[in-house]
Amino acid sequence: MDGLRRHKSTFLLPGLLTLFLIIIFPLLFTIRVSFSGWNVSNPQMDFIGGANYTAVLHDSRFWASITRLVLLAGGTVLIQYVIGFGMALLVWREARGRRFWRVLFLVPMMTTPVVMAAIWQTIFHESLGPVNDLLEMLGLTGIPWLTESGPALAALMTVEIWQWTPFMFLLLLAGLLSLPKEPFMAAAIDGAGTWRTFRKVTFPLMAPVSVAAVVIRLIEASKLSDSVYVLTSGGPGSSTETPGYYLYIQGLRDQQTGYGGAMSLTYLVLMIVTLTVVAALLTRAFKLKGDS
């Protein structure tokens, strides 16, 4: 394909360069600024060595937000996976109004997270919101959802689950719909029951899709910050802060640009390492099962 060699770059380069240029400047800037003392009173690119990084290491608020993120992301993604898989199984084959359910179950993930978080904030309102109203109808006492740390985390998780379970549902439903029929027939002939069929046939066959869906969701969940801003503003105190949101406070609101840069890079590296390890572990776990 000699005549083609010259053309291939013409196709690739516009997109590649665009993305590269859009991304590389911010990255270089962040790396440089993280070694400077740039803040609101001293907005310049001086050089202070690794002082910002040392400060990050000792910033317990940052590390608390990381721990919180791990629990939040891990917990919500797991719940999303379980519910998403369950719902996909329920409307997979024969179900009345299948098409209606499918659209309805997909809608949340299409809607704007911050906008829906604003609605959720009214829903969780202590005295005027429907959640406490419902609890009181059931004879329980209302909960100060957004002003106490435990309930606030629960509220945040609820919103995340509401928003993103549809994504799991979509990928897993697509996966189920493209499964081969033969293994199910074989299982039926063997007289395997519902649970056995699921455990021995459906679940293993769905492993690749499952891993992909979980990893994609973990990546997206690790960036969590917008909904926090709208729903709780990290509060009460800093009890619902995620790294993304804490970075926003330090780097943007308080304009600790140098410190924010160091924290950004620490966060980015931690994320990449963790997600790579998790992805590798998940892939391996399912591969091992497939072999035995």
């Binding site: 083609l4 369950g86 179950f105 809607t111």
Partner: protein, 281 residues
């Protein structure tokens, strides 16, 4: 063996989940027709029976006295979304086509590494990028402008476009490219005349993802545009407050997500008609 109770269980679970999913929309809908009295009287759900519906909220967002403007932000959001999606789709499909059809080798870098570079940009948290973007746009005089917002939104959407389209192009037989070239098309014409027309399902899916992520972006707009250009999510969040003009907030929120819900319905129609399965068998 499945018991007789299974259908009961199944539809109960489906119905419960449906309530949870639809709940916020229902609540926003019912709240958007309330006024201060109706909201402050505690949670109510059924218009006429529990409260007297008014159009205050809806009037407020469409330029009523003392209201807020959401039409302007709506237009801004639409322009940014369409422009950024179009650029991402154009650049993304070209790059994806190259990655699907030609072999690239630059030292240890192979095709799969380039695809990974594109897709991996999704891992970048917006908060990491936003400060440098701020100075970059300020330097270019693009802060608080639509072009500036379009450029940064492309960074969000391009990886998605490449990801979807590489997969799709890989499913189109290479023989079609070869035939088009034998039929007299140079590479670019081959792409435009033979491949793109067969890629509508892929382009639709990619466009849908781009539109959703573009429309839903809040953070970049929040930090990089302020007064001149406000996008819809910004406008809605600005209304968010614990002292409730909830009716206006609800109306604005519904107005903001309506295009997305229409999009969901349209995509489902395409899916169920099979229009999104491969055009090439």
């Amino acid at each position: 063996m499945r018991s007789r109770l299974y259908p009961v269980f199944k539809y109960t679970v489906i119905a419960l989940w449906a309530c949870f999913v639809a709940g916020p929309f229902f609540w926003a809908m019912t709240t958007s027709f309330k006024n201060a009295n109706a909201v402050q009287g505690g949670p109510t759900y059924i218009p006429w029976a529990q409260y007297e519906p008014t159009l205050t909220g809806w009037r407020n967002i469409f330029g009523g006295a003392g209201g807020v403007d959401v039409v302007g932000p709506f237009v801004n959001s639409a322009i940014v979304t369409v422009a950024a999606s179009a650029i991402s789709l154009a650049l993304g499909s070209l790059a994806a086509y190259a990655l699907s059809r030609y072999r690239f080798r630059l030292g240890f870098i192979k095709n799969s590494d380039i695809v990974f570079f594109f897709v991996s940009q999704r891992i970048m948290p917006p908060v990491v990028l936003v400060i440098p973007f701020f100075y970059l746009l300020q330097w270019g005089g693009l802060l608080d402008t639509i072009p500036g917002l379009v450029i940064v939104t492309v960074a969000l959407l391009l990886p998605i476009a490449v990801w979807v389209m590489v997969d799709f192009f890989n499913g189109i037989p290479r023989e079609i490219d070869e035939m088009a070239m034998l039929d007299g098309c140079p590479p670019f014409q081959t792409f435009v005349r033979a491949i793109l027309p067969n890629s509508l399902p892929g382009l639709t899916v990619a466009a849908m993802f781009c539109a959703v992520f573009g429309w839903n972006d809040f953070f970049f707009a929040f930090r990089l545009t302020f007064t001149e250009v406000q996008t819809l999510p910004q406008a809605v969040v600005a209304l968010n407050s614990s002292i409730p003009p909830w009716w206006t907030l609800s109306a604005a929120a519904l107005f903001g997500v309506a295009p997305l819900i229409l999009l969901a319905l349209w995509v489902e129609r395409l899916l169920s008609k099979g229009n999104l399965s491969g055009a090439v068998r």
